[in-house]
């Protein structure tokens, strides 16, 4: 099921969904976001680039993957964090998807 936010105050629905998801995940990458939001990868990548240009998120390369998080240096970071927390509250489906995502480490070779 597609996760649809109830509002899109960051210019587009995808940008808002991406921001809310990053707020919930802490750190993430485009493919994980696309899977989580059931959105096209290219759309998520475009949203991430726009958000990075606006200084709302910051990305860094880890190997071949670009990892994103909310930019802690953003001048209104605390306010943005609180706003996104509030925006995430009614998103029960997104919250449940994030909760079901396995992100804890697993020793190499250990069977699933």
């Amino acid at each position: 099921m597609k996760v649809v936010p109830r509002s899109s105050p960051f210019g587009s629905a995808t940008r808002t969904r991406v921001l809310v998801a990053i707020r919930l995940l802490g750190e993430t990458y485009a493919r994980e976001l696309a899977r989580l939001l059931d959105a096209p990868l290219s759309g998520v990548q475009g949203a991430l680039q726009a958000l990075e240009r606006d200084g709302l998120v910051a990305g860094r390369s880890m190997g071949r993957t670009r990892v994103y998080r909310l930019d802690p240096r953003y001048f209104a970071q605390r306010e943005l964090d609180r706003f996104l927390e509030r925006l995430a509250e009614p998103e029960a489906d997104l919250q449940s998807r994030v909760t079901s995502l396995r992100r804890r480490p697993r020793r190499t070779g250990k069977p699933l």
Partner: protein
């Protein structure tokens, strides 16, 4: 003077700063380019970030850049003979949670450049150290503070507000060590 293959980053910064002024664009040099400027090249940057702080639009920036030979290529401006590129990140001009930034005016050979002050340049680099644990940024912040008069009280208070008192103490220790090294080099 025309920019060419031998133009250094500081010369480019002044020419671009002056072109922006002539076209009514308020923009402040920040980031790695500003650190390069204050460390006199000890830290090298490949680009110059100018944060737009005034109301001037895209056309005015475009006109200013064209007047010094830079052309737009995606998000940046490049020059056929210059290895450095220019970017105009969106503002506001802020360092962490502090947006009350007063740029410093530099004038050289009739050209004007707006840049972060040494104190703010130092804070700008420290923000990367505090939030990303980027130790290269710590080294650059120390290099700026060792070469210029910076307001350590302002940096300390800002560090407290950012929640990085321990990291600030590390910065202070590193700065003290660097100052001792510089003094001993001067004596010998």
């Amino acid at each position: 003077m025309k920019l060419g293959t031998r133009s250094g980053l500081v010369e480019i910064a002044f020419q671009v700063g002056e072109a922006l002024r002539r076209n009514g664009v308020e923009a402040v040099l920040s980031g790695g380019g500003c650190a390069h400027f204050y460390t006199r090249g000890a830290f090298r940057s490949a680009d110059l970030d100018f944060i737009l702080t005034g109301p001037a639009g895209h056309d005015a920036v475009e006109a200013a850049m064209t007047s010094v030979g830079f052309a737009r290529e995606g998000d940046r401006y490049v020059h056929p003979k210059v290895r450095f590129y220019l970017e105009f990140p969106r503002g506001p001009l802020a360092i962490g949670g502090d947006w009350r930034i007063r740029p410093k005016v530099h004038v050289r050979a009739g050209a004007r450049l707006l840049a972060l002050s040494p104190t703010d340049c130092c804070r700008d680099r420290l923000a990367a150290f505090y939030h990303w644990k980027d130790r290269q940024s710590l080294r650059v912040a120390v290099a700026v503070a060792a070469r210029h008069r910076v307001n350590v009280g302002v940096i300390r208070r800002w560090s407290e507000q950012e929640g990085h008192v321990k990291d600030f103490e590390e910065f202070r220790r590193e700065l003290a060590k660097t100052r001792v090294t510089i003094r001993s080099r001067r004596r010998s």
